[in-house]
Symmetry: C2
Subunit: 260 residues, 2 copies
């Protein structure tokens, strides 16, 4: 299977099947384990979902490599060839405590070029996908061009850690410049809010590759910007602090970081 | 019309009709005006929705008084007799910038006793209502008893102002004790998240009566606590700082405020 549209159809089926399984099990007793800290959780459904998608990729594309959250992927050291990024349940804390506001994320790169990206808000049944060069979609409806709004013209999202820890001057300046702060607790959902122009920016510390690999493809396709706090391109194989924003808000935030 | 179930049926019809109007107009050009600050907005649909509900109340209950956000209500100075509280669009900033994440709120009190409360998340079509002594419901399904979880066992929501302004020690302590911060930008939606056990608490500065009048009835019915920061009952006719939380989280937050 080489045709990108054919791959897209196949992958869409996997994600929908995985989501059906999550929805059917979400009200059963979950097995919840703490990973690093009390707010870094993993459940049996994170494992099952990742295993399922990994097995599908292995069976369909035996030569492809996989970078994934829960350890069923490969040890990938460079971006050559075909690489998949999987976050089986992004926003696991929401998943456990709210049973909503989480998403399945998948991204496909060829030699470092993002080809396909998926962010599926499972409980709201909002399926976002992007195909390089063919646009970004929500439930198969093309997403409108991103609005170039500055911080003072819209809402800005941060991750919990950036707000809770001692706030440096840059974060304080972002907060005092934006119309309002929003915080949903899932990097995938926060990214799609920016792509859909419902927020102007999302700023987050310490994300992992599977947290931003799909968002990166949406950002490229929609002419949004996704960089680290120093305006450098992100390294898809390393943890990273990220800003995803429309171009106007991104420039303002980069200037705030430079001046703070 | 005196029977409370009959009033409930009638009011439900008004709110659904108002919501249909909002949904039909939301993608038209809105007339947006700044009230006090750039993030305090009002639109033609706030006005139209409030006028519509006020006219229905006046026609159906000519002796009842109305406390409402956009100025079509009465000058109410005490809680005697029958009083309605209306917030036609709670979360107007979300309404304008996101076209979702806002709600219609309505509350009905008799001699200071909350009888009926409504929080309708219009775009998600989640209709929450409470009838004193008969329980609280989401889309007519009874809401499960609230989970008594402490700050360290769940997610906590704050309003944007509490996070953005200079944070006092109490807010810092809440942030360092909770599993994670969430911020949705609508007092009604934040309250219903607590009532539905998806967050353990919502702490907000400077809310107005129509922001918490419905939440107060949900809290009473569900054995949650709604007080000011000093653990005092709220005054339904004055702006107020509020905590709405399950009993365990509420006690922890009150202790944090006492000690900070």
């Amino acid at each position: 299977m080489n045709n990108i549209d054919e791959i897209h159809q196949t992958v869409t089926g996997w994600i929908r099947e995985a989501a059906d399984h999550i929805r059917s099990e979400i009200n059963e007793q979950l097995s919840v384990k703490v990973k690093t800290t009390p707010n870094d959780l993993v459940t049996n459904l994170d494992f099952e979902t990742e295993k399922f998608i990994v097995s599908k990729i292995h069976a369909t594309f035996p030569t492809h490599k996989i970078v994934s959250e829960e350890g069923f992927g490969d040890d990938v050291t460079d971006m050559s060839d075909s690489i998949w990024f999987i976050d089986p349940i992004d926003g696991t804390l929401n998943f456990v405590k709210q049973k909503e506001n989480f998403c399945i994320m998948l991204a496909y790169y060829e030699n470092g070029i993002g080809k396909l990206g998926y962010i599926y808000d499972v409980m709201k049944d909002k399926f976002y996908h992007v195909i390089r060069g063919e646009g970004a979609y929500c439930n198969n409806k093309q997403i409108k061009p991103i609005l170039k709004r500055g911080l003072s013209e819209g809402l800005t999202a941060l991750n919990s850690k950036l707000v809770s820890q001692h706030q440096n001057n840059a974060i304080k300046n972002i907060l005092s410049n934006t119309l309002g702060l929003r915080l949903y607790g899932s990097a995938g959902i926060e990214a799609i809010e920016v792509i859909s122009s419902r927020t102007v920016a999302y700023v987050a510390s310490n994300l992992k590759p599977w947290d931003f690999a799909a968002a990166n493809i949406f950002a490229e396709e929609m002419n949004a910007k996704l960089t680290d706090f120093n305006n450098q391109p992100i390294d898809l194989l390393k943890p990273c602090k990220i800003i995803i924003a429309n171009q106007k808000a991104h420039e303002e935030i980069i200037n705030i970081f430079k001046q703070s």
